[in-house]
Symmetry: C2
Subunit: 210 residues, 2 copies
């Protein structure tokens, strides 16, 4: 009964969600896999197959109803609700993440901030008051925190991660450029622009000037 959806498919769903959101803003009523493929630079067949893992959302001869598919994808990804997050590390990077306006409107709200430095405790950043890391466990329970964000220097990253894991957090967004170790029931996603840059330089390197 485990239909076993490939992980690569899950990685692409947010891309579909993003483009459909843009299409809805453009008031597109219907879209074909052809058109989605052109916009996302991928084959129509792949899009159809990906979506078919979750149901039959299209109409033959017509395509997909944008609003309907958007709703389905939101449901599938679980983004038809608000998720609460806590951030650890309120240095420059942490402040920038708190200040980044794209999270809350997309359903991801940072409701608590922590720092190891006791000097920071009690200060306010945006809407949240910086707390001592010792209070994490309580706050996770009281405020219903689902996701942790790690924005501390590399040397403190594993400690912060262990702390989140110890509090029962099962999903972590990690900005520290380290190779963290987590139990296998905990998801961790790396955000490191340098990794992305390095894959590009690999290709740039072998590029003669035209």
């Amino acid at each position: 009964m485990t239909s076993q959806i490939p992980e690569v498919v899950i990685l692409r769903l947010p891309l579909y969600l993003r483009i459909l959101t843009l299409l809805e803003e453009e008031n597109a009523g219907v879209v074909s896999s052809q058109e989605l493929g052109a916009r996302l630079q991928m084959t129509p067949a792949q899009i159809r197959k990906d979506l078919s893992y979750f149901g039959k959302f299209g109409k033959q001869g017509k395509g997909y109803n944008v609003r309907l598919l958007l709703g389905e994808l939101r449901q599938i990804l679980g983004v038809n609700r608000e998720w609460h997050m806590a951030i650890i590390g309120v240095g420059r990077l942490g402040k920038a993440i708190l200040d980044y306006g794209m999270l809350t409107p997309r359903g991801f709200k940072i409701v608590a901030a922590f720092d190891i430095d006791p000097q920071q405790t009690g200060k306010k950043v945006g809407r949240v008051v910086i707390q001592d890391l010792a209070e994490l466990a309580n706050t996770v329970k009281n405020r219903g925190i689902d996701i942790g964000i790690v924005a501390v220097p590399p040397s403190q990253a594993q400690q912060a991660i262990d702390c989140l894991v110890g509090c029962g957090i099962k999903a972590i967004l990690n900005y520290a450029p380290v190779a963290p170790r987590v139990p296998k029931d905990v998801r961790i996603q790396e955000v490191d622009p340098v990794l992305a840059l390095q894959t590009m330089t690999y290709h740039l390197k072998s590029l003669g000037s035209p």
Copy 2:
């Protein structure tokens, strides 16, 4: 003669580079694929196979010399030099990227900043003076810019990207949550924490409380 290295392998090389950098800081002289696998949560066989596409860097019975392998990987990825980047968009996000201390020490230097808003032109952010977008082509040539960073609002992203492409840029780091269109000889990498969060909520969703 095209040995054709799988793209997934290229995506993993920066992870190897990152862990080896940490290992060198810990003064590890030698490391086995076993140990790398444990640290990166992947199989030793995969690491050995990945590296074997580029040469024989290990010693049987011993493992890989950390410093040597680090040097090889830097060479392969093309990060044994400094890369020059230009950023477009100097709002909150753009300022945060300019302020992010992890780029320069890892060989990626932002040497120019641009904004569409003429009000911004001439102001200084960190070490760079904000220029008008019209000057992009000249600056790309004069300052030897290899990579563009897009940090404008979604509605202006495609315009910024077209501008970079028009100036001959072949690699773009895109922070705007859009589905950009670029010619196929241009690499573009998305940086969007929301995409990462959404793949995690997919898995969180189907997680009963224990």
